[in-house]
């Protein structure tokens, strides 16, 4: 895993195919990168970007197609083989072992530091220091990974990949967990690195693609649909190519203020999974008929707040009033009955039972109501009719409502959850990262639905890390930082820069 013997002048992928059970993830994909160039690989979720890059990194084996480096055909059987040729990948989910330190993580992959019965940690430390100073990526070599923030982990991941001698850097959605400032910082840093490295940059955020890349390749349903120079095309053109149709995400234009408070949270304190105080005196008011956007870098208490509101996490102190009633520390069942709709962050584990059918998942919260059951028997006919009508209204694409819900795509699973929550006519709806990882078509649909509920007088609490989503939909925007609400702004006057600073904890009056 030393630096490759000769520098990478040109990398070419020709006719790569990869099949997974039931899907063709990569369909005859070809692309090329030259030295010092940034290629943006763009496409919706499930377009096959990550699969393609995992093939290039030696993690997956292609079913057919060839990879060539400097004109010579190569075959990467293992990640080691890819490293040996100078190809390094920064995965979307960081490949860092959380209960090891930074230095141990680097040493793990550096075979030249492995001696018999002895590990050369000092060698790893020196290498980290060298790389981090050279590329201005400060890291603390002796910190445990689990102690680091997402931004810090990203730096560690970059340093680690460079320590392994990468000359071609593959970055899989590197900005998905960063604040706007961290994102700008990262883009500037990457720009500087192109003096020595080639970069393949995977993203679906088109402004970043515009800012960083020289050329762009667009994938749709596993196939290349576009290949060209970034500077020649506008983000809107690229978006249309990416989705296959014009996409206009709906916007909340009215911004008229209602005053009736439907959900009020006062001085809320609750603990996170590690026993830390994740919510530390949080105050929040949600009004009827508004979308309140909660912006913030993930890990600042969003998850805990959503859990607490759904009745899933105990409150240490503070109160939750819903429609005037004190519902602090009540069970999830009480919250549901009070009229709270909840779209959880982890749709596979909290939103649905993956092995249950679509029909069953649609009545998970109401199976005991007289509509769907009689004494101790379920009314299966009624459950099926309910599913069929919701499938139509919410455009849930599935071969039948009796298939296992877990087999649907992310966007369709999200529509199942949305249909279930909305069909119950909630008074307030807590939506946590509702469009994370769903394609733009589903995103458009979900946004339209949320705005329609707002019109009907439902209070919507939208928790998201996509600033654009928050700014498009919200009436007011609250910024959460370290378990408190730092500031609440009317959406009409909020700017991206201002929110970005607040998300990083900077309050300048």
């Amino acid at each position: 895993m030393q630096a490759a013997s000769e520098p990478i002048q040109e990398l070419k992928l020709v006719g790569i195919c990869k099949r997974f059970p039931g899907i063709l993830a990569c369909d005859n994909v070809s692309l090329e990168v030259k030295r010092g160039e940034v290629l943006a690989l763009v496409g919706e979720n499930g377009a096959g970007k990550s699969t393609l890059m995992n093939i290039l990194a030696g993690l997956y084996q292609p079913d057919s197609g060839t990879i060539s480096l400097n004109g010579e055909a190569v075959h990467f059987k293992t990640p080691n083989a890819a490293f040996a040729h100078g190809i390094g990948m920064v995965h979307q989910n960081f490949m860092l072992v959380p209960n090891l330190t930074v230095v141990e993580n680097v040493a793990l992959g550096s075979k030249n530091l492995h001696r018999f019965m002895n590990l050369d940690l000092n060698g790893a430390r020196r290498r980290i220091k060298e790389i981090s100073e050279h590329h201005e990526l400060p890291v603390n070599p002796d910190a445990y990974i689990w102690q680091l923030s997402v931004g810090e982990q990203q730096r560690v991941e970059l340093v680690k990949t460079l320590c392994f001698g990468a000359q071609l850097l593959i970055l899989d959605e590197p900005t998905s967990a960063l604040t706007p400032q961290e994102t700008d910082d990262l883009l500037a840093r990457l720009k500087r690195m192109t003096a020595e490295l080639s970069i393949i940059f995977i993203s679906h955020k088109l402004n970043e693609v515009k800012a960083l890349s020289d050329r762009v390749t667009i994938l749709r349903h596993g196939a290349v649909v576009f290949n060209g120079t970034t500077a020649d095309h506008t983000p809107a053109e690229l978006a249309a190519l990416m989705t296959g149709h014009e996409v206009t995400l709906p916007r909340n234009e009215s911004h008229d203020q209602s005053t009736e408070v439907i959900l009020s949270v006062k001085a809320l304190r609750a603990r996170g999974d590690r026993g830390n105080l994740a919510l530390d005196g949080l105050d929040l008011e949600l009004r009827a008929g508004e979308v309140l956007g909660l912006a913030g870098v993930s890990g600042n208490g969003q998850r805990e707040l959503a859990d607490v509101l759904a009745g899933l996490r105990p409150v240490e102190s503070g109160t939750i009033h819903f429609q005037g009633k004190n519902l602090t520390n009540h069970s999830p069942r009480r919250m549901i009955e009070a009229g709270l709709g909840y779209i959880p962050e982890d749709r596979h584990h909290e939103g649905i039972v993956p092995s249950f059918s679509v029909q069953d998942n649609l009545v998970l919260k109401d199976y005991a109501s007289p509509k769907f059951s009689f004494s101790c028997f379920l009314k299966l006919g009624e459950i099926e009719r309910n599913a069929e009508s919701l499938r139509e209204c919410f455009d849930i694409r599935c071969s039948s409502t009796s298939v296992a819900t877990g087999s649907l795509s992310g966007g369709n699973i999200q529509k199942v959850i949305l249909a279930r929550e909305i069909a119950r006519c909630p008074k307030a709806l807590v939506a946590v990262y509702p469009t994370r990882g769903v394609d733009m078509g589903a995103q458009e649909f979900i946004h339209t639905q949320l705005l329609a509920r707002r019109k009907e007088g439902v209070g919507v609490l939208l928790i998201s890390e996509e600033l654009e989503e928050i700014m498009n939909l919200s009436d007011r925007i609250a910024v959460i930082y370290k378990g408190r609400i730092l500031k609440v702004l009317p959406a009409a006057i909020a700017t991206r820069e201002q929110l970005g600073l607040l998300m990083a904890g900077v309050v300048n009056e």
Binding site: M1, F20, A57, L59, Y60, Q61, T78, P79, N80, F83, M89, H91, N93, F94, M95, L96, V97, P98, N99, L100, E104, N105, A107, L108, G109, K111, L113, H114, R115, M117, N118, L119, Y144, W146, F164, D273, R274
Partner: protein, 316 residues
């Protein structure tokens, strides 16, 4: 008996008593650190106890007679490593459910050892076993000498395994790989570590250590073989790994606590103290359950992927 003498007895009996648990748990710790939960420890210990006993039973004369105990330990460890290999094949390569496979291995080892013993040995027969060897000088220290330095040599070897295991796990490249594959196998894979190979190695080492622990029971502790000789120690060893939070030093503490409780209850019975013996017998087990229930969970430090097979081509 005065209370000082009783404490001395409990300690000097409890230390050698803890060895089988300690070694088996140290071995199981390697398994679990690599992400494999081996409930079959008990079965491997049974096989180890039987095979360890066998040379001493058969070879009474001839040039090998002087080395029967060494031979027994070698057999036991080889068989343990083989059973570990078998378990690796089933759970790592074929990705079978580890809990079920472990129960299978437990019954397999226990059943085979018992059957072979009935066939080759017949009834219960004693062997000479490993004699005590007092460490010159150290054994003369009042109180401590008797507690720590007047046992059979396998006890000393077993206690040396604690720092050795710690070093192996935390200071060598192999240990680093073991910890990585048990916590985040995909990350290890992307860094060029062969996840399955490391898991095979860890299971074989763990198996060999369980075999060693079994042979200790038949050659050093009971000095005979009966098919229920392990008596649940394999399962206690699995629990001790949790108890010790996947750290050899913690495991040593757990093994000592359990075996001291065990000898305490024995001396309560022997010493004629008025206390219902049924409760005395329960004491060590209750103690372990109580301590396990009230220890703080160290979620970030243990192997978080414990029990899950790894499949590189599975989409996440």
């Amino acid at each position: 008996m005065n209370s000082g003498g009783m404490i001395y007895n409990i300690l000097s009996l409890g230390v050698p008593f803890s060895v089988a648990l300690l070694v088996a748990a140290l071995g199981e710790n390697f398994n679990q650190r690599a992400g494999i939960f081996n409930l079959g420890c008990e079965g491997i210990m049974s096989m180890g106890a039987f095979l360890g006993f066998l040379p001493a039973f058969f070879i009474k004369t001839g040039p090998l007679a002087a080395h029967v105990n060494l031979l027994g330990f070698v057999f036991a460890m080889a068989a343990g490593a083989l059973l570990g290999l078998l378990f690796a094949l089933v759970t790592v390569t074929f990705r079978a459910s580890q809990g079920i496979a472990g129960i299978g291995l437990q019954m397999f080892g226990w059943g085979i050892a018992g059957t072979l013993s009935r066939h080759f040995v017949g009834g219960v027969t004693g062997v000479e076993g490993v004699p005590a060897w007092a460490i010159p000088g150290l054994a003369k220290i009042p109180f401590l000498g008797g507690v720590l330095f007047n046992h059979n040599p396998v006890v000393y070897i077993a206690f040396l395994m604690v720092p050795t295991s710690w070093y192996l796990l935390f200071r060598t490249p192999w240990g680093l790989k073991v910890r990585a594959v048990g916590t985040y196998p995909r990350a290890a894979d992307t860094m060029g570590i062969n996840v399955n190979r490391v898991r095979y190695q860890a299971l074989m080492l763990g198996g060999a250590m369980a075999g060693f622990a079994g042979a200790y029971l038949s050659l050093c502790q009971a000095k005979m073989f009966a098919d229920d000789i392990v008596a649940g120690r394999g399962f206690i060893a699995v629990a001790l790994v949790y108890f010790g939070r996947w750290n050899p030093v913690g495991i040593l503490g757990g093994a000592l606590l359990f075996s001291l409780a065990q000898t305490l209850q024995l001396s309560i019975q022997v010493g004629g103290i008025k206390f219902p013996y049924e409760f005395a017998v329960m004491l060590p087990y209750v103690l372990v359950i109580v301590v396990l229930a009230f220890t703080r969970k160290a979620r970030m430090r243990g192997p978080t992927e414990l029990g899950k097979p790894y499949n590189r081509e599975m989409r996440v």
